[in-house]
Amino acid sequence: MANEEKKLVEIQNLRKYFPIKGANGPGVQAVQDVSLYIKKGETLGLVGESGCGKTTLGRTLLRLYEPTGGKIIYDGETIFDNPLDKDGNPIGKAKAVNMLPYRKKMQIIFQDPSASLDPRMTVGEIIGEAIDIHKLAANKKDRADMIKGLLSRVGLNTEHANRYPHEFSGGQQQRVGIARALAVKPEFIVCDEPISALDVSIQSQVVNMLEDMQAEMGLTYLFIAHDLSVVRHISNRIGVMYLGSLVELGESYELNRHPIHPYTQTLLSAVPVPDPKLSRTRQRIILEGDVPSPMNPPSGCRFHTRCPYATQQCKEEAPKFKEHEPGHWAACHLLDK
């Protein structure tokens, strides 16, 4: 779907730590030096287990969380820059621009539709608020027309504008959340697990709607989810995260056919397939143990404590994120040999 090779969003060594009161050390290392870019018009999927930092990455990229370090470039303009020295300490003061003009271009759809809508505002007010902040409507009639247009775009009735969020089902609430994000006519949307809270039969409706809107309006998505089959379906490229780091990135079907990082291989083999015969014959790689705490991540490669192929080198030295095949990136010492 990417019509040109233009990078719309780019992050370089993005880092986000959450300090813990009264504790020594840097706190929770939620996102650890992640670099990636998203091309205009494409969908980049981001997968990983809970606590791997995928949601934090999405929010830090929008500067809903202020980054600890690194650089964010949107459409050629630097919106945050805070270079770090070798020890990870910031050099000088961070460069940070006013985000208001960028909020119009960069939007987000949240995971839990009922928690992300104000229960005391009508749907019309929720959508209208975004229009008011960015002064997009010339007059009252214009504003009402815009709200109606947005509601019908996401498959709701125009009279739904006067209702409150609790009067809607989960699937409809998520549609309201999407309408709210669309209200400012954004170019880029972070979809943070937009379908995880929905019923199976509703999920595909929302997925199809997101695809239609992308084709119509030329949107660019960062699609965060833990359901690999849906991410593969909707994404052009997929990034896999483990404990704050990006471990693999590649074309979506290529990544599924030939995962090169041991963690991606495990993750793919663990997804249950809705095919009884296949699941009886399929060999699953079962990982031992649990994900380590991001407060105190393992040294070297963060995956080495659970990796079946780990060597001494993996314990001591963090692998570099490298391009191993055209467009297929991974961070693993095994691949360097």
């Binding site: 287990e49 809970s50 089902s169 989960g170 699937g171 409809q172 019923d199 199976v200 039969s201 509703i202 999920q203 595909s204 409706q205 997925v207 199809n208 695809e211 833990h226 690999l228 089959s229 849906v230 593969r232 379906h233 079907y253 495990t266 993750l267 083999s269 663990a270 997804v271 249950p272 397939v273 809705p274 095919d275 009884p276 015969k277 296949l278 699941s279 699953r284 079962i286 990982l287 649990d290 994900v291």
Partner: protein
């Protein structure tokens, strides 16, 4: 299994209603199935389809204002619904155990894991000594794959990860050797790699103990992985029931077909657009007349909106409730 021997569990025309201020909600509207020793039955359905309430009624755990309003539940030949409170207490835990979706809310945060396991055992076996109970608890924890048992017994729930807590819940459920385990979305709150661990553990334990399992989930991938047979529920009714292969490869009901079609295919080599089921789930306060799925069904006929379809055998032990099938059969007879 010989014919005269009782089935492990037989549910006949079970009806569960909730009497709310807004009116009666028929959460379960007459479902029947049976389960044998060593069988795993999957119950699939959307939220609000009644799949959990049906399981709660077997355990006698229905919360007010919910009530069983009809039908029967027979466990090893005994009528479960006529049990007294004491009989029910003995039945729960000893014969049937249940594990829930969120293991954190099911464990008491102020007692150690060992304490809670021993309590579960001693509640059902008054004569067992404390030492023996602790020994059994430790064996159970080892069985479900928890290492360093001595130390783990003295720890509190918050010191366990989500996957480990679910293992504790399974250990607690199985400590009295029940014949039937009801698992209500046991892996939904877990990550895929942890889910794979728990599913493997359950398959392994099931082989060792020969217990029957009712596995409630909305994830068809999990069903394909662990179940022998499947009941597909929609709006409080079982719309299709059959062996797992039949359900996945020869689905008969339009809802089952729709569910399978709406998911991205596993073996897809390139992009294929999804085919969703249009419309929204049923409002259980005002269910439509006739087949509950009719308003969303692409094959909807006049009769579907008026009358509930009967069950039709579409294969060996495979039945479906759909007028389309009824008409097909009648057409055949006429010819």
């Amino acid at each position: 299994m010989s014919e005269q021997k009782n089935k492990l569990l037989e549910v006949k025309d079970l009806k569960v209603s909730f009497f709310t201020p807004a009116g009666e909600v028929k959460a379960v509207g007459g479902i029947s199935y049976d389960l044998d020793y060593g069988e795993v039955m999957g119950v699939v359905g959307e939220s609000g389809s009644g799949k959990s309430q049906e399981a709660y009624s077997i355990m006698g755990l229905l919360q007010s204002p919910g009530k069983v309003v009809g039908g029967s539940i027979t466990f090893e030949g005994e009528d479960v619904l006529s049990f007294t409170k004491d009989q029910m207490t003995q039945f729960r835990g000893n014969k049937v155990a249940m594990i829930f979706q969120n293991p954190m809310t099911c464990l008491n945060p102020v007692y150690t894991i060992g304490n809670q396991l021993v309590e579960a055992l001693r509640a059902h076996d008054k004569n067992i000594s404390k030492e023996d109970a602790e020994k059994r608890a430790m064996e159970m924890m080892e069985l479900v794959g928890i290492n360093n048992v001595q130390k783990r017994m003295k720890q509190y729930p918050h010191e366990f990860s989500g996957g480990m807590r679910q293992r504790v819940m399974i250990a607690m459920g199985l400590i009295c050797h029940p014949q039937l385990l009801i698992a209500d979305e046991p892996t939904t709150a877990l990550d895929v790699t942890i889910q794979a661990q728990i599913l493997d553990l359950m398959k392994d334990l099931q082989k060792k103990t020969k217990m029957g399992i009712i596995f409630i989930t909305h994830n068809l991938g999990v069903v394909a992985d662990i179940c022998d047979k499947v009941s597909v529920m929609y709006a409080g009714r079982i719309v299709e029931q059959g062996p797992v292969d039949d359900i996945f490869y020869e689905p008969a009901h339009p809802y089952t077909k729709g569910l399978l079609r709406s998911m991205p295919r596993v073996d897809a080599e390139s992009y294929e657009r999804l085919i969703p089921i249009e419309g929204t789930p049923v409002d259980m306060l005002n269910p439509p007349e006739g087949c509950p799925f009719a308003p969303r069904c692409e094959h909807c006929m006049k009769i579907c909106l008026k009358k509930m379809p009967p069950y039709v055998e579409v294969g060996e032990k495979h039945r479906s409730a759909c007028w389309l099938r009824v008409q097909e059969l009648m057409g055949k007879e006429e010819n």
